[in-house]
Amino acid sequence: MPDNGRKADTVTLTIDGREVTVPKGTSLLHAAEGLGVEVPHYCYHPGLSAPAQCRICLVEVEGAPKLQPSCVTMAEDGQVVHTESPSAVRMRKGVLEFYLVNHPLDCPICDMSGECMLQDYVFEEGREKGRSREPKRVFGRDDFGGDVLFYGDRCVMCTRCVRFMDEVARDPRLTVVERGSRAVIDTFFEHGLEGASYAGNIVDICPVGALVSKDFLHKARAWDLDHTESICPGCSQGCNIELHTRDNLVQRLKPRENQEVNGHWMCDYGRANYEWMNHPGRLEEPEVGRGNDRRPADWQEALASLFQRLSDAGGAGVRIVGSPLASNEALAGLAALGGEVGSIEACVFRSPRAPDEDPLPGFPTLVRRRDLAPNVDGAGILGFERVGGDDAAGGLREVAGHDGIILVLGDELRDQSEDFGAAASLFVYLGTADSPAARNADFVLPVTTFAEEEGSFVNVLGRVQRFRQGLQAPGYARPAWLVLGALVGALRGDGTPASAADAFERMAEAHAAFAGLTWEAIGTSGTRLEAAHA
């Protein structure tokens, strides 16, 4: 029975001499992609409808009277498709020549240069020289509002941006005005895209340099950027992103496809929220001693004397402040350290919360969540409790005056006074930046941000997702999972975790929610925690 069902649901066809079986309703373009054959396309985007108007994905289908647009022609049983037949190649060459009639060919000053589909296709199969002798029409550039700048001359009229605003953002602010060679994308009103919270995506989906980001304008060349798979730290949605870095600085964030979380998209809030990763003024070396006795130390000395203090603590009450910006591994290490040295009396974190959510109507899974930190849910699973207000302030009165052990990770304690932890028998502050409230800390240990370490977050949908290291840490800053893991390992006598994967495994042993998961199984697109237990 399942066999019959499967047979009815799939079709087998031949593309470029190779047979492929695909589900019914697959476009020829997709079927070819599965074979590793890239059919050029502009107007087609997997996240949008396909109007078949760019005319560059035409392929030859045996038996059809004309070339067929592969983005809307569905695969059928027994079809024989040629993407590289002389007629298809000649047609593409002709279409590309038409695209270049009015294209300014200003690649040297175009921000898209290096990742431009027009550049790629013309380089691959375009004519060496255009035959058009007419002057090119000139539109100049237009500020669309928000972060988007429009260079009308470069546009190939694929209308992906119009369709995105229409179908996905459901906020139709763009349209095509005029016809023929005078056709151009425009906004309806003066305010343009101002205030549209997902408009940054049209820059990503623009196949050419017509829509560019103002923030990224002239900042770096596409080929200079290193891409690192990461997770957006902007909110608890945990959009899959890539960090684009150059000169050890994050230059921009781009969404990475994950249909379970963010599709092809990400919000403008998350996209703009990267400057802090490049922020100077970081803690760069461990320091020991309270107040005026504070002095720099090396890791060996700092950890050895901290280990001594922890061993002598003798079951004192431990109050812990974590951070929803810290990875699961770091938070688990923090909780494990607290449990190892004494009895945990409080285990809290503070997180900023937006007044409302901001959904993407055309892709309901993607919502800019209220919690504006990536690992709120991971912290919850690991036993941390949310305190304080929506501005991530307050709620630490019980910790501030505690006379036992205080462990702080990642929370900069901006709202706390200099008396914070004055009464504590031992106060350890692990952070990225120094804070006036860390004045009474016996140990100030520099740790890395998520961009400088490997680790995992749990998003609001209960997905555990990994991020990779995109930047080199400043000075002697080390990942928190390593620092805490070394201390816990020394106290337990089972050694330091060798890698983030090792730290994750240790966490999975201690916390049932992660049991059975491995670093490899999470992979690049994450796994649902419930699914792992089903």
Binding site: P108, I109, S113, L217, H218, K219, R221, W223, D224
Partner: protein, 166 residues
């Protein structure tokens, strides 16, 4: 071992005379003394003729209004095998892309001329220039103003008398 004496015979007087070799050597010396062809170039009074493709320190071409021709496309730092070009692009008040920072470390440069070859707007050139002495090392990092001030002739990408390098 018994000691014995080996008797060496002196060669004939005609074969030991140094006169013949001396006269031969001196004749060569005097020949050069009176020869008129000069090999030494009396630099700096006389300047050498540089080949049209001779590659020396850089020069940035400028527009008539004094702006650099460079559009900060980033191809020269990309192609540079010695990694000696530092470029930060930006936008001027007329909306033109231009180099905010353009520096060439002439000490790192290997004068391959690939920056000139790759430049889409014929802005950066290597030049026919070799008199680069400075008092400090840091003066060898040429910034944009310095590159624009240079007025020596630029290198040709091919020899006009032999355009196909035959």
């Amino acid at each position: 071992m018994a000691i014995s004496v080996k008797v060496m015979r002196r060669p004939e007087p005609g074969r030991t005379s140094y006169m013949r070799a001396t006269l031969k050597g001196m004749s060569l010396t005097f020949k050069h003394l009176v020869r008129l062809k000069k090999v030494t170039l009396e630099y700096p009074e006389d300047q050498p003729d540089l080949h049209p493709r001779w590659r020396g320190t850089h020069r940035m071409e400028v527009h008539a209004d004094g702006r650099p021709k460079c559009v900060a496309c980033g191809l020269c730092p990309t192609v540079c095998p010695a990694n000696c070009i530092r470029l930060v692009g930006g936008e001027d008040d007329q909306g033109n892309r231009y180099p905010i920072v353009y520096e060439i470390d002439e000490f790192r440069c290997i004068f391959c001329g690939m920056c000139q070859e790759v430049c889409p707007v014929e802005a950066i050139h290597v030049g026919q220039h070799f008199e680069n002495a400075e008092y400090t090392r840091d003066r060898f990092v040429y910034d944009l103003d310095r590159l624009m001030e240079q007025d020596h002739p630029t290198t040709l990408l091919w020899d006009p008398s032999d355009p196909r390098s035959e």
